[in-house]
C-alpha cells in the first residue's frame, strides 16, 4: 500500500539526492581544492542532506510514506533508498542547541556513508559486526547511555511512523528555529 507514495517521494527527493551528491562527491575527491570552496561544498551538502532528511521525516510523520525509522542511542536514524546517505537526527541536540544541529548532521554523513547500508531499503538491526561499516560520524563515535539528556526517546528500537509515540513524534517534527520548541508542526517544509 505505501509503495506509490514512496515512489513519488523518491522522485521528489532524489532530484537532490543522486545528481548533486555525485557531483559534490567527485568535486571533493579532486586534488588541490581551495579550502574555502571545500567548506562551501561541505556546508551546502550538509544543508541539502539535512533538508532532504527532514522532508522525509515530515512526510513519514504524516503517514504519507512508509519509512523505517530507528531510535538509536537517543537519536532518530532514518535510512531510506531515496537518500544517498544515512540521515541521523539528534532530537536532544536540536531542541537544546539549534545552532549546532546543522553541523552535527553534516558530519554524520561522510561520503563514505554510501556504504551498503544506505542502499538497503530497510536497515537491519545494528549488530556489533554491522557497526564496523557505519560512518564514523558523531552518531557512532562514542557510545551514549540513553539518559534524559538524550531526549527521552527510550531504548533502541524500530519506530513505526504510523504509531509514533507523541513525545517522539514531537521531536521528529522539527519546529522552526524561530519558534518556541513547543510549537506544533506546520504544513510547509522546514526552512533551513
Amino acid at each position: 500500500m505505501p509503495l506509490p507514495s514512496l515512489a513519488k517521494l523518491s522522485l521528489v527527493s532524489c532530484r537532490y539526492g543522486n545528481v548533486v551528491e555525485d557531483y559534490l562527491d567527485v568535486y571533493l575527491r579532486s586534488p588541490d581544492l581551495p579550502k574555502d570552496d571545500i567548506t562551501r561544498a561541505l556546508v551546502a551538502r550538509g544543508r541539502a542532506r539535512k533538508g532532504a532528511g527532514q522532508k522525509l521525516l515530515l512526510m513519514a510523520s504524516r503517514g504519507q510514506c512508509h519509512l523505517p525509522l530507528y531510535c538509536l542511542r537517543g537519536r532518530i536514524l532514518l535510512t531510506t533508498p531515496s537518500l544517498p546517505f544515512n540521515f541521523a537526527y539528534d532530537a536532544s541536540q536540536t531542541s537544546r542547541r539549534p545552532r549546532h544541529s546543522t553541523l552535527q548532521t553534516e558530519n554524520s554523513g561522510s561520503t563514505g556513508a554510501a556504504s551498503p547500508l544506505s542502499v538497503l531499503p530497510f536497515l537491519p538491526p545494528i549488530s556489533p559486526f554491522m557497526s564496523l561499516f557505519l560512518p564514523p560520524g558523531p552518531l557512532f563515535r562514542r557510545s551514549r547511555i540513553p539518559t534524559r539528556s538524550a531526549g527521552n526517546l527510550g531504548p533502541d528500537r524500530k519506530l513505526y511512523t504510523t504509531v509514533l509515540p507523541p513525545h517522539v513524534a514531537l521531536r521528529i517534527l522539527l519546529p522552526s528555529r524561530h519558534r518556541p520548541p513547543s510549537h506544533l508542526p506546520h504544513s510547509r517544509p522546514i526552512p533551513l
Binding site: 537532490y16 557531483y23 568535486y27 579532486s30 586534488p31 562551501r40
Partner: protein
C-alpha cells in the same frame, strides 16, 4: 555508445574539456550549488 550530441552540447563539452582541472572542479562546485539553490 552515446548518441552524437548536438552542436551546442559538443561545444560545451569541448569548452569544459579545455578547462584546467581546478577550473573543472570549480565548475562542478558552482553547478552543484546552483542545482541545490534551484531545488530548494
Amino acid at each position: 555508445m552515446s548518441p552524437i550530441p548536438d552542436e551546442l552540447t559538443a561545444t560545451v563539452i569541448s569548452a569544459v574539456e579545455s578547462l584546467s582541472a581546478l577550473q573543472k572542479a570549480k565548475f562542478l562546485l558552482e553547478h552543484s550549488l546552483a542545482l541545490l539553490e534551484a531545488g530548494q
